[in-house]
Symmetry: C2
Subunit: 714 residues, 2 copies
């Protein structure tokens, strides 16, 4: 580096002051300067984040695949209409089905992770068939039924495309409250699927408007006048040869959304639609030819597959945050604004302490989410493995149910926590790009609009957070009774030591164990508070559901605080396994996450007096210092995310730092100059109108001067 | 009401259980039930919020005007393209110019407040000419120049349309750092306007792409090789007869944005464009025929008019929050989800404590912003009045400069605080509508996208908050020297009493004076901390600017805490002037705002030990109780906002509560059913493809079975 520095000095000797200034503010030079600051091996960090060199190489191959695939052209995405986007999104199916039939499923899943970052709308539309529809078959069909539908083309997408019709216009999270009915007609051995009211209309059904021939419909099973609750039925919607809707099916398009307009969400109304009895998926509940209903013993075992989407969203939150921060941090490294009194070169945004405060904690949080996503995936896979064994009787059922409960509540809480974090990260990054963050071409606006739905679907975030809160209260009550809890909530087994514990005045606030203990103390307190409030409600005679509702604010708070601590623990775990080269920088990032989140939750730490007001002041100072330290490695850290320019798809996030040139080019390419579209129709008559004839003097001309006063009062 | 109740009972006697259930969950009946809960005179509250019956009637007239004006049709706004939207937005000029020339300016300004709620994009596009361009003339032109441009049509919009070219691609907030040059050419008595680099390209210029003939251009004045800093020049851009750009002008369209696509933002490059010397606006700095530059003495006096936009945005934040909450709260009053064990009727969202927690504090905050907006407007008008007098020498100049400084920093801080609050209110309301919040037709998605820019333009929120922080530090240092401060920061005159003060253990936490004192104590502490940190930096040898940068995090924190306290004070002031009928309900709302914000900032209150941990627990409980109390009046409170269905423009926010029917109608109207748009081109070949010929068995067919292993590893 010093060689090129000397060469630069030599060149500068012959420059005019203007030329020197131009070099000093050159964004490409600024980026190079930042990149040269790396004190760690960037490539090794990439391997670590990806889970190994092999995965990194795989991801790089996928990124190249898509970049070169004309169907995955993304730089004009902001200027095509919803209808064009819908059509282009369908077109991509072809390319992805090719890969699906040519690579092992776990490899293909990695490919889908990349797709979700390139085009989240397409990811969802493809996922509606393969994740939701095929997932519904796998969870609910007998093996015979599964074979039937696979043979009919459900897996190969030949002759049929599926969608997943659960939610209704008037019914979202409350699945047992769905209104659609599936009434068994013994005479014909058929079910009659029916939408009884407007609010029973199936709503938000991805793929319904233009893609699907079949639907997995959730409806109330009614046999001989008795309601057996919600079950899943396969209902044909369209003739695959013409795509005309079948008799009794009314489908419409839900139209424009905040984002993900590539998905053709629709509504479906069923009017006495008849399907064979065998189209009810009978892995669990069964209805016999004579109308005898057999209900499953362990309904819970069917829930496992439903968690897959939530786990994917935890992982996706980390990945999407990477993309948002790549844009905002690279831009901050080259954007200059104001100069101090000693220089005529404006200061990089990244050098402002306040800008470091805006972005560095979010960078740290992204790492926390990435480590957590890995852990969550591992927990899910382990649980699913045990679940499979349980079905064949190989594992202790009680233990599996316990794992299922833990995975369920952990994934619920983390899905909510991480998608909220990611959404606010995107918005913070957007605002950190100033006015340019409002342009569609800089990518963050669309990213927000696409991501926002993650806070609602597959379980509204507030409801999911409350589910985690309920699990925490339950765990607390079990811990009090002496039960040994699973590691994630293991701190509740140490209530006696934790409640009332204070940090030593001379403790090292940069010791991760001090922060871990702090979170444990605070978590133990807030969970205990929620549990005591719950028990108080029970004592006052409320039933369990009402008691949980009454303490919902404490429950939500407990779940949030628990999630902060949980992420910090995952981060510390992750760093502890790292070799020396990376350990130093990652530990700084980890401590920043720890202290920043303590500061954000200062109320809790002071409330339970783990940290004193003095320590809290020190934590603020140290957080500032850590922001400044992490800022030094910010570009190398972002480089380690290893997203290509194609993936980032934002001129502000270009690796070379040449942001203004790329941005200007993109704007010009997207908006070619041409003749004025409406000058003659609108502007000409407006600015050439005769002012003398204007209405404000008509009264006068008509001799009505005396009415002026009245008019004014009107 | 009890008569209709009896009638309902009588009807229900003859109903089937299904019919009874349908009545119980009927959204219209739910809304009627909520409306009947009003314990105050809704109309009187509307008058109070509007500032009197006369204004309410005026607003109602305007709402009707626009609803009936075909150009202001808004229900199809989500489905038209950017180009159509641009054209329609231009079309609205005609209607508004008619009103502008027919009603007094203060009445017209009320009309514009309504317009900003109906169509924020149009509001901005119209405001670019009348607010920014004409505003630039009024602030910077001599009276002779003003007459010249008005006579040319600047006021009547005849023969010319203006735009405002300040920001550049590489330069936003730092106006002195703009690169565009205006070089005086003595020979021709002209200025040469020039864009020297790509980063000097004028960027984000509203109206540039399709509307403007002239631009108020901010450029570095260069005379005889010397730079005199940024001044304002009127530069013709287009021939008004043809709208062809003039020689040396290169204009392009900035294209798609996050929202407000009705504004035709563009870029402008000037290549040695010559304008007469007289086109420099010379109210302040002057350049004579011979190139003598005369600079103004009191540049500050020119800033007053620039604050108008910020003040308008404080007011707009309150209004837009009203609109968002009308939607979310009305929906929550009729949407039902889950039932408890004792009922088969699902519970209203609004009856869930957690949903009350999501929306009631935001409702309270909206009232706080409305009272603050009124106060801010009054402060601004008073200051501008004094400023006018000062110019004619009637007022003490020092006092006026003091007022200007206070108005400047207060409006800066409140613009940031209120626009941030409003943006998160919109998002919280959107999420509170569940999945339906993601539909474009329910209005909140677009509202977010349109509003988001308010956090950036007319001063980036972070920078503005820091400006308030700087003012607070300055005020603190003056207070320490014994100066009596203006009321907004008057608490800094009582540092001795406030620092270290604790709330009495038996204090009534529902006494607004206790909360006011709490905010004063906390504000005094955080401002003092920031000031001491600043002084420490100075002692360590930093210059003033660097010292302010170093303490920016404390400065930001101080400004935020100050703003919370400021809003609560305005709310209490506002309520104190109210008559008995409204006082009770408004005081509940006010206390909710007070305690909720204390809870949100628990860290600060515990840090400075104003409230004890025990009191903080009590505050949490009381906040829950206040949420439940305000919930009872939520629909009447929202009704008092007095926005018509046309204004709210969301089926979920309809006054009659018939949300599902209106929503379904809107979706169907916006997306008529028709033939499949791409079945033959894309879907048919996909689902009818011959799987047997698919690539996954090609190897086998070609006899390459032995390569399989290698392929897998690829």
């Amino acid at each position: 580096m010093s060689g090129s520095k000397n060469r630069l000095d030599a060149i500068q000797q012959h420059m005019t002051p203007e030329q020197k200034h131009a070099v000093a503010v050159d964004p490409v030079a600024s980026m190079t300067e930042e990149r040269a600051k790396a004190v760690f091996n960037i490539r090794e960090l990439t391997y670590l984040l990806d889970g190994g060199e092999k995965t990194t190489l795989l991801k790089e191959r996928f990124m190249q695949d898509f970049e070169r695939d004309p169907l995955f052209k993304m730089d004009d995405i902001h200027d095509i209409s919803k209808d064009e986007l819908r059509e282009r999104t369908m077109e991509k199916f072809r390319s992805l089905i090719h890969h699906l039939s040519n690579e092992p499923l776990d490899i293909f899943k990695k490919r889908m992770e990349i797709v979700s970052l390139i085009d989240p709308g397409f990811w969802t539309r493809f996922g509606v068939h393969y994740g939701l529809f095929v997932g519904a078959l796998q969870s609910n069909a007998t093996s015979g039924q599964l074979g039937y539908w696979f043979q009919k083309g459900a897996l190969s997408l030949s002759g049929m495309v599926g969608c997943f019709a659960m939610t209704e216009l008037g019914h979202g999270s409350n699945v047992p409250g769905l209104e659609t009915t599936a009434t068994f007609d013994e005479a014909s051995d058929q079910f009659i699927i029916h939408t009884p009211t407007v609010t029973a209309t199936k709503w938000w059904i991805g793929g319904a408007a233009h893609s699907a021939t079949h639907s997995a419909v959730f409806a109330q099973l009614v046999v001989k006048g008795k309601n057996y609750g919600t079950k899943c039925f396969i209902v044909p919607l369209r003739d695959p040869k013409t795509y005309n809707t079948l008799p009794g099916i009314n489908i419409g398009d839900l139209g424009k959304k905040m984002g993900r307009d590539g998905i053709d969400n629709g509504y479906i109304q069923f009017t006495n639609v008849r399907i064979p009895r065998a189209y009810m998926l009978m892995k669990h509940a069964k209805v016999s030819r004579s109308g005898v209903v057999k209900e499953p013993k362990l309904q819970q075992l069917t829930y496992g597959a439903l968690l897959q989407g939530r786990v994917a969203m935890v992982v996706d939150s980390g990945h999407t945050s990477k993309k948002a921060l790549t844009i905002a941090i690279r831009y901050a490294a080259v954007r200059r604004q104001f100069s101090n009194s000693k220089s005529d070169v404006e200061t990089k945004l990244l050098d402002y302490p306040i800008h470091q405060r805006r972005l560095m904690p979010l960078l740290a949080q992204t790492f926390a989410m990435l480590f957590t996503g890995n852990e969550m995936s591992a927990m899910y896979n382990k649980m699913m493995g045990r679940l499979e064994n349980a079905k064949s009787g190989d594992t202790d059922l009680e233990e599996v149910l316990e794992m299922l409960k833990e995975t369920h509540s952990t994934s619920a809480g983390l899905k909510a926590f991480c998608t909220w974090n990611c959404l606010s990260t995107i918005e913070a990054c957007r605002q950190a790009c100033g006015g340019h963050g409002y342009s569609a071409y800089t990518g963050l606006a669309g990213m927000y609009q696409d991501f926002a739905v993650q806070c609602t679907w597959e379980g509204d975030n507030t409801i999911l957070t409350l589910q985690l809160g309920r699990y925490l209260i339950g765990s607390y009550r079990e811990a009090v009774k002496g039960k040994k809890l699973s590691p994630g909530v293991g701190y509740l087994n140490n209530l006696q030591q934790l409640i009332g514990k204070k940090c030593r005045a001379d403790a090292n606030l940069l010791d991760p164990q001090v922060i871990i203990e702090g979170w444990q103390v605070v978590c133990a307190n807030v969970v205990q508070n929620a549990a005591l409030e719950f028990e108080d409600c029970i004592k006052r005679g409320l039933d369990i559901d009402d008691a949980y509702e009454q303490c919902s604010q404490s429950r939500l708070y407990a779940a949030k605080i628990h999630s902060y601590g949980y992420l910090f623990n995952r981060f510390v775990d992750g760093v502890s396994k790292v070799q020396d080269n990376l350990k130093h920088v990652l530990m700084e990032v980890c401590l920043l996450y720890g202290l920043y989140t303590v500061e954000e939750n200062a109320g809790a730490f002071l409330q339970y007096e783990y940290f004193s007001p003095t320590q809290m002041e020190q934590i603020r100072t140290k957080t500032n210092e850590l922001c400044a330290a992490v800022r030094e490695q910010a570009i190398p850290l972002v480089d380690a995310f290893n997203l290509t320019d194609y993936m980032v798809n934002s001129p502000l996030g270009r690796a070379d730092g040449n942001v203004y040139v790329h941005y200007f080019d993109q704007v010009k390419r997207s908006n070619p100059q041409g003749p004025h579209p409406y000058f003659n129709r609108l502007i000409k008559p407006l600015i050439e109108r005769q002012i003398d004839n204007d209405d404000d003097i008509e009264d006068e001309e008509a001799g009505l001067e005396e009415d002026e006063e009245e008019d004014d009062e009107e």
